[in-house]
Amino acid sequence: MKGAEPEAPGPSPPQPAQGLTKGDKSEQPGLDPEPDTHWQRTEEEEALIEFHRSYHELFQFFCNNTTIHGAIRLVCSKHNRMKTAFWAVLWLCAFGMMYWQFGLLFGEYLSYPVSLSINLDSDKLVFPAITVCTLNPYRYKEIKEQLRELDRITEQTLFDLYKYNASSTLLAGARSRRDLGETLLYPLQRIPVPPRPECGGGGLKCNRDKSDCFYQTSSSGVDAVREWYRFHYINILAPLADASPSLEEEALGSFIFTCRFNQAPCTQANYSHFHHPIYGNCYTFNNKNDSSLWMSSMPGIHNGLSLTLRTEQNDDIPLLSTVTGARVTVHGQDEPPFMDDGGFNLRPGVETSISMRKEALHRLGGDYGDCTQDGSDVPVQNLYPSKYTQQVCIHSCFQESMVEQCGCAYIFYPRPKGVEFCDYRNHSAWGYCYYKLQGAFTSDSLGCFNKCRKPCSVTNYKLSAGYSRWPSVTSQDWIFQMLSLQNNYTINNKRNGVAKLNIFFKELNYKTNSESPSVTMVTLLSNLGSQWSLWFGSSVLSVVEMAELIFDLLVITFLLLLRRLRSRYWSPGRGPSRGICDLWSDSDTTAPEAVLSPMGE
């Protein structure tokens, strides 16, 4: 308040500041005799950026104004050596402590720890997709022609190896055992197993020039025959696979007798059909990703899917289907049904009640864990028309290697464009190649398990089943009668021809296991700030002060050097640069007005 005269026209200048600046530039008090005009000028014409004139000035300014705690004592108290030393030690200690702590904090943060959180939500749930398969790919009658040869040979092999005389029901045609054997590659042989008295059956797969053979053995004859039959069956059906997918399309009514969801009958919009070469006709319910998805708003057996299925096995393929019943799997809407991997077999004559419980898992991707959001960053092309899952990836990966090494595609997995399914008419050595590849796959030398990363969010359904006999003795009369009238059910099959399936949510509570970063950026910063305040009491702005100081130091050094150089080399009387030299040489008072204006002048 001291310097303000009543007459001052200036817009009430900040007086304390004036006092301070006056104190700072006290070296040149008489420079400007008229303080008022001087102040007005500084207000209006203050340079864009101003520098101190000397190191001393700079440090004095810094020491007066800095906010760094220990540093003031260290740098600014030079009167007492003892004290300075003491403060230097203290400062170093604090500094060391702080950086040690910082190191710990950063180390913790950079290890990207996650904490698990379990959410229990209850909500109405989207019913998952349910796929039901007949376990019988083709009607035996319809496919008999193609399989005639294979069946005949199988039968003969069975007789040769196991002295099993197949009944004539199996094959209608007359058998002449003499003249066959050469029609099929890869004969089934009995391979003596040295340590055991028993003999196992085995298949022989060779490459083209028969130089390297690969024996596939199994200890049980049943397994060997089945495996062998299956292999040839694939070969025969490979060309057939896409020829007649509509083989039994219209026959849904003859496989699924009744279908209800939430007490209401299913409609055509609720299911889709596909054909699986081993599991037969499969019907996927609730797969269509549209608004008509089934929702469960209540748990319990009455609020789920209820199916009555035909499990008659009159026309099953005798050597292929050794299981009777039906197969069901539960999967998400946008996941392909893997009947092999997650299936559940239904027994005939039994009501199977499968209760589900939903569980979701969310992993943190990125630095926190190795998972992929949508599979776009996985070096395996997704052959399935569905979203990425690990299983999809592994199958695609296998198929990729198969196409690469064997030149044809394995029939159970989708084929890439422009590649045909394996078939030994075209690819005579594919069996050998396939078994070789499978060996490599299981020992993970194909690298599929490394390439295929976990998806970040997974939903799975935990299933548990209860069984009861269906239909009951008292009700079976009218139920069978009804089924035979409605669905051409043959009553003589009794219970063996039907199965009932209920799938429902056991509870609508679902558990979500999710990961969250246990140290976030915010907490890291908070902890850093706490440590910093604790040991130093300085802040980010103090660091900016330091940066400014260093910047100032550099600029002043540069300017001083420049000035010195100039005063040394461009001594007065040096021609063209005279004016500038003048300007710089007597810069004490006037020169740096524009470039470096000393202390507000």
Partner: protein
């Protein structure tokens, strides 16, 4: 210091009122406390003063730095730091209500859960046959007419059948109430009542559209029934079924519930199975147990159910060992001959594992057990504890859920949903649904009293499933629950070789209850046991506490600006209190001045220009009349602004600032 900024004025005021001794104190205070802070004449001064004296980093640099760019940069830095602090603190506050989960595994002696066992068939058919005779007969008639199904092959019922002549002779009462209809694909909108043969027009909406694919090959007809409100036949709801089996069963169940609703509870209990009948043998933890260890629980749809290890039985049993030997082992007698042919179509029993105080929802979540099989159920216990409000929406015991619990059991989500539905049912239809407990002052629905309850019920259930009743929105999950993860495995039982002696002994054992030779398919074996005694508890605990939040705040404040709570208070003081006090003071002075001008010289002179020396710094604030001044003298319409040049502003307040007197005492002498 900054905290005291406002105090000198106050001290002065009190001192003037205290007169003589006060004068001395006043002088002393004046001497000791420099008049600063709010006494700063302008806002700019105040800011300057604040920046020079505060401990907050950055501020001082704004003032002391040289150069406009430097100053600007420092302003930017400081504001950025403030913004960062606010942002980070907001993030901290937002994430305050997070939980951390701990999973503990205890190995300890575990309480055995309550096990409820029911026969799938509710009542012995021989006992209820009298009640259901008419219904059964009509059902058979319907079957015969619709599907040509004759009872000839039926071995057992022939006796009962022969007593009754052809059913056409009787006036059917059930088919009249709710007729079974045959819908023909060819003519839509018309249905044939199979009994009367009349074609009746099907109006209203067909609720269940049967699919085309599910159809019978030769006869393109579907069966269904129509539910109408009694007085109004135009708004009927028609239910069609793709399969006759479902249609018949559903239709039968409707009538069955009607009939059973009128039967008193005691009679129903007597009609159902007794504990001695159902439970042939019982073993628990290697010790024999008997039906007295089971408590009766009557379920409307499953008849008599028996709960083992219920709370009503003295103490809760526990197991000290895992494995099937140390669990519950029972052999159940499932009398297949006594099954109701139309009500239930599967044979077996239902088992539910639940907490002692939980209501067994056997209908919804029970696990079926097959006859002639040994079913082993291995359990694994998981206990979950959640934190309630404000961390999540769960409820501790349901007292804060606005749904009355009609069950005599602890709250659960399921109970809430059913209670909600039942309450709505009583509200809308006037009676209670049969398969759920009765709310107070309500009766179960039946035709006699509520002729159109079925229509009402179906409508309501439809609305419930589509969440139009808002039950799902109101009901909340519980915060703590136990769940038993079950692993079921099956084996053929009894084995071929043991069958003979086993069945004989059991027959002999049960001699007094069952007067017939036991068959393999009449029995079911059940083993329930803990797989291991590891109990997993999932517990939530708050991830943040107030201390952590505060220390995080402190960290943020310290990191960016080395600020503290005192700094924050300081900012509040300077920027809100002092700031406004300065503005208010200035306004007050202006108002006074204006008033004085008005009073002093009503000189009609010249245009109302703002003559004299004005202070450009003060131009920012418009000279608005205060409320009091406006009230005291509303400006006359033709009044002219005084022509006398007003006194200089600067002189006015600078003088005041120096004299540090109360401003209001000075204004009059100046004017």
């Amino acid at each position: 210091m900054p905290l005291l900024g406002n105090s000198p004025g106050r001290f002065q005021r009190s001192a003037t009122s205290a007169m003589a001794p006060g004068e001395k104190i006043k002088a002393k205070i004046k001497k000791n406390l420099p008049v600063r802070g709010p006494q700063a004449p302008t806002i700019k001064d105040l800011m300057h003063w604040y920046c020079m004296n505060t401990n907050t980093h950055g501020c001082r640099r704004i003032v002391v730095s040289r150069g406009r760019l430097r100053r600007l940069l420092w302003i930017l830095f400081t504001l950025t730091a403030v913004a960062l602090i606010i942002w980070q603190c907001a993030l901290l506050v937002l994430s305050f209500y997070t939980v951390s989960v701990s999973i503990k595994v205890h190995f300890q002696k575990l309480d055995f859960p309550a096990v409820t066992i029911c026969n799938i068939n509710p009542y012995k058919y021989s006992a209820v046959r009298d009640l259901l005779a008419d219904l059964d007969q009509e059902t058979r008639g319907a079957l015969k007419t619709l599907y040509g199904f004759s009872e000839v092959k039926s071995r057992r019922r022939r006796g009962a059948e022969s007593e009754n002549p052809a059913w056409e002779g009787i006036q059917p009462k059930f088919l009249n109430v709710i007729p079974l209809l045959v819908f023909n694909e060819t003519d839509k909108g018309r249905a044939r009542d199979f009994f009367t043969g009349h074609k009746r027009k099907v109006s209203g909406n067909i609720i269940h559209k049967a699919s085309k694919v599910m159809h019978i090959h030769e006869s393109k007809k579907t069966v269904g029934f129509q539910l109408c409100p009694s007085n109004d036949t135009t708004s009927c709801a028609t239910y069609t079924f793709s399969s006759g089996i479902n249609a018949i069963q559903e239709w039968y169940k409707l009538h069955y519930m009607n009939i059973m609703a009128q039967v008193p509870l005691e009679k129903k209990i007597n009609m159902s199975y007794s504990a001695e009948e159902l439970l042939v043998t019982c073993f628990f933890d290697g010790m024999s147990c008997d039906p007295r260890n089971f408590t009766l629980f009557h379920h409307p749809m499953y008849g008599n159910c028996y709960t083992f290890n219920n709370r009503e039985n003295e103490t809760t049993l526990s197991t000290s060992m895992g494995g099937s030997e140390y669990g519950l082992q029972v052999i159940l007698y499932i009398d297949e001959e006594e099954y109701n042919p139309f009500l239930v179509s599967s044979t077996g029993a239902k088992v539910l594992i639940h907490q002692q105080n939980e209501y067994p929802f056997i209908e919804d979540v029970g696990t079926e057990i097959e006859t002639a099989m040994s079913t082993s159920i291995g359990m694994h216990l998981t206990e979950s504890f959640k934190l309630s409000e404000p961390y999540s929406q769960c409820t501790e015991d349901g007292h804060d859920v606005p749904v009355e619990n009609v069950y005599n059991a602890a709250y659960s989500l399921q109970i809430c949903l059913y209670s909600c539905f039942q309450t709505k049912m009583v509200e809308k239809c006037g009676c209670a649904q049969y398969s759920q407990p009765l709310p107070p002052n309500a009766n179960y629905c039946n035709y006699q009293q509520n002729p159109n309850w079925m229509y009402c019920y179906y409508k309501l259930y439809q609305a419930f499933v589509q969440e139009e009743l808002e039950c799902q929105a109101v009901c909340r999950e519980t915060c703590r629950f136990k769940e038993w993860t079950l692993t079921t495995s099956l084996a053929q039982w009894p084995s071929e070789v043991s069958e003979k002696w086993l069945l004989r002994i059991l027959t002999w054992d049960q001699g007094q209850q069952i007067n017939k030779k036991l068959n393999k398919t009449d029995l079911a074996k059940l083993l329930i046991f803990y797989k291991d005694l590891n109990q997993r508890s999932i517990m939530e605990s708050p991830a943040n506490s107030i201390e952590v939040l505060l220390s995080n705040f402190g960290g943020q404040l310290g990191l960016w600006m080395s600020c503290s709570v005192v700094c924050v208070i300081e900012i509040i003081e300077v920027f809100f209190i002092d700031f406004f006090s300065i503005i208010a003071r200035r306004q007050w002075q202006r108002a006074k001045e204006w008033w004085a001008r008005k009073q002093g010289s009503p000189c009609p002179e010249g245009p109302p220009g703002w003559r004299g020396q004005d202070n450009p710094a003060l131009h920012v604030d418009e000279d608005l009349p205060t409320f009091t001044s406006a009230l005291q003298l509303p400006p006359a319409p033709g009044a002219q602004v005084p022509g006398t040049p007003p006194p200089r502003y600067n002189t006015l307040h600078l003088g005041r600032a120096f004299s540090s007197q109360l401003s209001d005492t000075q204004v009059p002498d100046e004017s």
